[in-house]
Structure formats: C-alpha cells, structure tokens
C-alpha cells in the first residue's frame, strides 16, 4: 500500500465503459470525474496526506431535452459532482464537456460564456438568495453580469420571468425575507432562467420545502422544461421526487455510480442491492402496503469517504456480499439480457426472478 493515495485514471485503474449513447449529441459529458479534498491537518483525527474522496470516478452523459436524476444519500458526493459539472469547483481529474467543448480546465474568464448556458438552482431557498438585496436585483443580476439589454429591457425581462415562475411581478422591490420558502425557490429558478440557459443543474431544489409546496415546484420545473426546452440534472436524496422528474436515473454511493438506467428500469427492475435497499427504505403513504412489505434494513452506517472499503464500496452493508466483493471493484456494465443503457456496478446483481431481503436474496 502506497502512502499517498493516487486518483484513479492516472494510469493504474481500469477505464469505465461509456454508456452507449452517441457522444456527439450529448449536451453534457462527464468523463471519469474525480474530486478529492485534502483532509485538513489539525482536525480531530491526525491529518497528513489523507483525502476525502468525494467523487471517485464518475462518467455520465446528459442528452439535450432530457432530465437525468441523480439520487444518493448524504456523503455520496452528488452535490460535489453537481458543482464539478457546473465548474464551480476544480476537478482533481477527469473532463467536463459541454456541447463537445472541453471546459474542464478553463480559466474563470474563458468560462464566462458557459455560465450563460449552465445554471444552477440551489437547495436552500433562504441561503441561496442574498437577504439584503431586492428580488428584482437578484433576478436581474445575471443579465447585468452578461451585459444583456439595457435598463428598461432588463426590467421587463425580470417582470416576465417573475410571471412565468408564478410570482407577482409587482413584488420585484421586496426582499427575500418577505417571501415564503416556496416563493423563494421560485425566485431562484427565475434567476437561473434569466440568461436563457440550456442546462440547469438542480441541487436538491425541493428538499427544504413542505410537501404541498414541493409538488408545486416539481410541476413548475416540469412545465418550464417543456416550454423552454431545458435539460436538467436533477439531484435529490428522495428517490420518489427524482422519479417524477427524470427520464433516466443514476444512483450514487460513496463517490461512485452504482446503477444507471431509464427511470422505469431503475425503479421497477433495479439490479444493484443498494438501489433496491433505497427503494425499500422509502416510506409509502399507504398503510396497507406498509403493513405487508418487508423492508430491507441495511447494516451499519455508510463508511467514511476518506477511507472507502476495498473492492466494492457497498460491501460492508450489502445483504448479498460475497468474497469477491472485497477483492475486486465492480465496474458499470449491462447484465446479460438487459438493454445496453441499463448499467450496474455489482458482481452479483439481482435478476428479474429474485428479490432482496435484509438477509439476502430470495426467489420471487
């Protein structure tokens, strides 16, 4: 074991096979993204050369007009991945391509034009808006930065944007504190739409909202996508919300994608034990169903991203773990008989005739 961890893709790891969609038409291509953070010396544990492997080799493609849902629990690295994709963070290694252009290492200045095309909607409706700026100014900000229109044109555009997200345009002079959570999220969406982006990365946009408001925002996002031909990367920890928004779903665990496929494939024919555990853990608002189902309860907690387990990262909690899982890291592949766009990273994925329980696999 060497002292200093080496990021994969530096020549030692095996490359992951790409999904089969033609790369030339993808809007966003993430090629083997790795993002590590050094553990700061002087924290509770002795520091040294250890790294937090937040994202450890992720490749994804998003096609124009579709919504790719990214689901995972805390610590899986989805937020970090979102920021790498939006180039708000530097990459430790890997590539980000937008419409074919490689934007992985561009300077802030050269990235500017891409900031018009890729926008983000953030999780916290309170935190993502400057509390001391008026709403109209917040929404107009991207227009000012990119020098779009003159004063009156900007004003008109701001009013227009407020209307299409369902806010009263007369309130452009108010402060964020005067709005409710759902309304603030609409303001954030209006701001993201201001420069007519092509891709919007939504980082947990509804997690902080009440259930009845969540549904409003989800519907709003879907309607806007249809009207404005937007492409979304939709990130959440709640798989049921992701399911409603997405065409395809990627499941992430401890810095890696463990399953990738269309929504229908992942939700009804999930192959990876973690995906199935995630689906099983989801509480269903139907007592009949709840009374009958047997949940898959995973053992223990997710390991620390500083020291991921050898081989398959999920093996410490997996109900169907075997010896091979500790030795060899599984690679994303399509199971025999499955369509080429349904990929799983597991040595022993579950078949159509099997179900998962807390103690292992059982025939259906």
């Amino acid at each position: 074991m060497s002292d200093e961890p080496v990021p994969p893709g530096a020549g030692t790891g095996t490359a992951e096979p790409r999904a089969s969609s033609p790369t030339s038409t993808a809007l966003l291509e993430l090629g083997d993204i790795v993002r590590w953070f050094p553990v700061r010396a002087g924290s509770v544990e002795p520091g040294g050369r250890r790294q937090v492997r937040a994202v450890d080799g992720v490749s994804l493609e998003i096609n124009p007009g579709e919504t790719l849902g990214l689901v995972g629990e805390s610590g899986c690295g989805k937020s970090t991945l979102a920021r790498c994709a939006a180039r708000l963070q530097e990459l430790t290694s890997g590539t980000v391509r937008f419409s074919g252009d490689d934007i992985s290492r561009l300077s802030a200045h050269r990235l500017r034009p891409y900031r018009r095309k890729i926008q983000m909607v953030f999780q916290d409706p309170i935190g993502s808006l400057n509390p001391r700026r008026r709403v109209g100014s917040i929404i107009a900000e991207p227009l000012i930065i990119h020098r779009i229109g003159d004063r009156s044109e900007r004003r008109d555009r701001v009013r227009h944007l407020m209307e299409i997200v369902g806010l009263n345009p007369e309130h452009f002079n108010r402060f964020p504190g005067e709005f409710s959570g759902g309304q603030r999220q609409r303001i954030g969406i209006a701001r993201a739409l201001a420069v007519e982006p092509q891709l919007i990365i939504c980082d947990e946009p509804v997690s902080a909202l009440d259930v009845s408001i969540q549904a409003q925002i989800v519907n709003l996002l879907r309607d806007l996508q249809a009207q404005l031909s937007l492409t979304y990367l939709f990130i959440a920890h709640d798989i049921s919300v992701v399911e409603h928004m997405s065409d395809r779903i990627a499941v992430m665990y401890l810095g890696k994608i463990v399953e990738l496929g269309t929504t229908e494939q992942v939700m009804t024919r999930g192959r990876h034990p973690y995906s199935l555990a995630l689906l099983s853990a989801l509480p269903i608002a139907d007592p009949e169903v709840e009374a009958k189902r047997r949940r898959v309860i995973l053992r223990g907690d997710a390991p620390s991203p500083v020291d991921p387990p050898s081989g398959c990262r999920f093996r410490t909690r997996c109900p169907v773990v075997q010896e091979r899982c500790a030795e060899e890291e599984p690679v994303l592949h399509a199971c025999p008989g499955d369509p080429a766009d349904h990929l799983v990273a597991c040595h022993f994925p579950l078949g159509d005739d099997e179900s998962l329980t807390s103690d292992g696999r059982v025939p259906k």
Partner: protein
C-alpha cells in the same frame, strides 16, 4: 386504558410582531402501548403541542388540560414536573447533535438521567447504560458509552438519544421528527428500532412527522394538524383510504410516493400555509381549499364524526356537517 388525554390545549406566544397562536383547541388521546402519529407541515403546531405537554415552552400562554394517568400535567411545577419528565414521559428530538450535550460523554449523560430519578449507584447505572446502548443496536456499546456525541454518525446519535430516553423506562415516548435529519436507509433502521423498542418496553409512542409515509407505517391512529388545529383524526387505514378533510386529501394527492412507480403529474395544494399571527376568522384552510364556500370564511368548523361512531374518525369541515345547504364554489 387511556394513558394521555389532551383536551382543548391552546398555546399562544406574545412576540414583537403580534400574538402567535401556535396551537388552538387541540384534543387527542393515547392509549397505553398505542402509537399516535401527528402529521403536519411547518407552522402546524405539532411540535409546540408536545413541547407544551412537558412544560418545555417558556413564556407561552397555555390553556386547556393535559391528563397523564389522570394527573393534570399543566399545573405541575418544579420538582413534580421534573419527576414526570424522563421517568414517565420521555422525548426524542429531531437533531441529536443539538439535543445531546456536546461536552459530556454519552454514558455520563445517561447515568445522570438515571441517577436524577432513582437511587442507583454509578456502576450500576453505567452497566444499564451499556445494556441500553446495545439494545438500540449500537456496535461496541462498552466503547460507545465513553464517546462524545460528535464522534458518532447521525444514525448512531439518534440511537443513543433513544437509549437515553429509554433509560428510565417511560410509559410514553414522544418522538419529534426523529428521522427527518437522517438518510432514508438510516431512517428505516431507526423506525424499525422504535417499533422493536416500543414492543419490548410496552410503551406508548407519539410520533410527530411531516412525512405521511412514515406515519402510515408506524402509527395506529393519525391526527392531521393545520395552522395549529387538528383537522382530522382517524385510525390509519381509514385516514389513508378515505380521508374526509380536504387538506388531508390534498396532502395525499400531492405526494410523489403514493405509489411506488408512477409519472403522473403531481397535484399540489395551491398557495401556502397561513401566518399564525392574526389568523383571520373561519377555517384556516379555506383560501387553499378546492371545495370551500361562503361559510368557510366566516365560521370555523368544529370536529364532527365521520362514518360510524365507533370508528372514532373525526374531521373539521363544513362539508361534513349534516346541516350544510350551501353549494360549494369552484
């Protein structure tokens, strides 16, 4: 046998911006060993209700009655109240990082709780603490008893919190959004733990949550709160199969996880919850209600029985009153 009976509880706070009526005329009861789920969104008053029961709301104007085993809790003060808290009724909060003392070891906190209520030696208390930590599924409890809260993960902390609550074998456990801050797989673990612990200790449980799915799986009876009032109470099958109140119906329709897979368009409830300062007259849900009519904006509906008397399904809606003659608008 009714363990807890809350009648017409009202809680109001005087703030610089006005009087906040957090809870208005809330009544419910919990039988020994039963689970009551209280569901509501932000501002519904569900947390304040339970905090008030234990006298944990400072500076509030409280009226009504809370009878625990026949004793009036709201009139207890000082020593008497202290004796009830922890030993008879224990509480588990949402964020264990802020509700466990960060500067004391977990074992120490548990021992202190035990020694505050019983005559028990330090070593015996410690042994009991280790036993409880093992019971709640913490690996290596003998090690964990000397850990500080920040050394544990979220799920483990919540387990430790539950162990602390159990240390005096209370008759009633109040869990205020115990899994909201946790990942869904950890949530499944904690809910399973709560069920197991409830059976073993024969405790009643009040589970407060905004998540209808959690309540559907755990509760025997469910009370739905909106703007400080209970708008519907029923046993869980009746509530989900045949909700009577428009808010409950709307909430169920707005959920994305009603079924395991379906990409139909969600049906949200328009508008947002009202401010609790200066609530207007009439039903607080009226502005958002699809079947509201004139009377809804002027008179506040009272809880009426739905269906058979024995089912104990009640809801507060003018649509359900037998003397309704007005036609709904819109």
């Amino acid at each position: 046998m009714t363990l807890l009976e809350v009648q017409n509880l009202s809680v109001a706070f005087h703030t610089a911006d006005g009087i906040v009526t957090a809870v208005r005329n809330v009544s419910f009861d919990v039988a020994a060993g039963d689970t009551l789920g209280i569901v509501g969104e932000s501002g519904s008053g569900k947390s304040v209700t339970c905090l008030t029961m234990l006298g944990l709301t400072r500076g509030a104007e409280v009226s009504g009655s809370v009878l625990f085993e026949g004793r009036e809790l709201l009139s207890l003060r000082g020593e008497e109240l202290r004796r009830v808290r922890g030993a008879e009724i224990a509480m588990v909060f949402q964020d264990p990082l802020s509700s466990l003392h960060p500067l004391y070891r977990i074992g120490w906190q548990m021992c202190e709780a035990m020694r505050a209520h019983q005559r028990i030696s330090r070593s015996k208390a410690r042994r009991r603490a280790i036993e409880l930590l093992g019971l709640v599924g913490i690996p290596q409890p003998a090690r964990c008893v000397d850990d500080y809260p920040h050394q544990l993960s979220g799920g483990m902390r919540q387990r430790a919190m539950i162990a602390l609550a159990l240390s005096l074998q209370p008759k009633l456990l109040v869990a205020d959004e115990p899994t909201t801050a946790l990942d869904v797989t950890v949530q499944a673990q904690i809910l399973e733990l709560l069920t197991r612990v409830q059976d073993e200790f024969d405790m009643a449980l009040i589970l407060i949550s905004h998540d209808l799915g959690v309540v559907a799986g755990m509760a025997d009876r469910v009370a739905v709160m909106y703007a400080g009032r209970i708008v519907e109470t029923a046993d869980r099958f009746a509530l989900f199969a045949a909700p009577a109140h428009p808010y409950t119906k709307g909430l169920l329709q707005a959920l994305p996880n009603r079924s395991l897979y379906g990409r139909e368009r969600l049906r949200p409830i328009p508008g947002q919850p009202p401010s609790l300062i200066g609530l207007p007259s009439g039903c607080p849900f009226a502005p958002r209600c699809p079947v509201a009519f004139e009377r809804c904006s002027t008179d506040e509906p009272q809880l009426v029985v739905v269906g058979e008397e024995a089912q104990r399904h009640v809801a507060a809606c003018w649509q359900l009153s037998p003397d309704v003659t007005d036609l709904p608008v819109g």
